[in-house]
Symmetry: C2
Subunit: 116 residues, 2 copies
Amino acid sequence: MYINVLAEIPDRLDEESFQDLLRSGPVRIERIVSHGHTSPPSFWYDQDDAEWVLLLKGAAVLEFEDAPEPFRLAPGDHVNIPAHRRHRVAWTTPDEPTVWLAVFYGGDPGGEPPSA
Amino acid sequence: MYINVLAEIPDRLDEESFQDLLRSGPVRIERIVSHGHTSPPSFWYDQDDAEWVLLLKGAAVLEFEDAPEPFRLAPGDHVNIPAHRRHRVAWTTPDEPTVWLAVFYGGDPGGEPPSA
C-alpha cells in the first residue's frame, strides 16, 4: 500500500509503527513513527545490516554503546549506523509524532565478492 | 561535510545543488535542492542504477517516457525508478526550494548472482 511519508501519520500510537516503503535486493527503506517511545532499558539493537537513518519530524535521542555521549536528532539530521554497532533509542518527544526514514543496506556480505 | 538535510537549504540557486549524504557499496544517498529548475526539453535521465526518490519539501512534477501522465509530487511522496526507466523533471515550484532525497542502489547487476 502506498503511503505518503509525511502526510499519513497516525495521531496516537500504542506501539511504534513500521512501514516498508521499498524492498529491493540488499536495500530496504522503512518509515518508522514513534510517539514518546524508547527502546527498553538495557536493550541494544545489534543489526546484521547497516542502517542510515534520517529524522524527518519530531525529536529523538540515540545512544550508542561505544559512545560516551548520546546523540540528539532534530528534523533533517541523519546518522549512519554500521552493522552491529549497538544502539538504542533513548528518547523521542512526547509532544508530537517522530518520523524516521531508515535505509537498511547490506552490511558485511559475509563472503567473497563475486569474481568478474 | 555534514549537512542537515532540511535546515541547511540555500535560499537561491543558479543551478541545482547535489550533496552526497552516504556512499557505501552499492548504495548512494543524495540530497538534491531545486528551485524552479527542470530537466532540459527532450532530455531524459537514463540511469544504470535504480533510484528511490522522496520529496521532502516544495513541489515537483516528474515525467516518464513510458507513461502517458506526468507524476506530481508533494512533500512525503516517493517513487521508485528502476534502472534505465527514462524520466525527467518537468517542473519544480518557483515559490520555494524543492528538496529531494534520492537513494541510488544497484540496478541490474549485469551478471549472474553469486552462487551460494
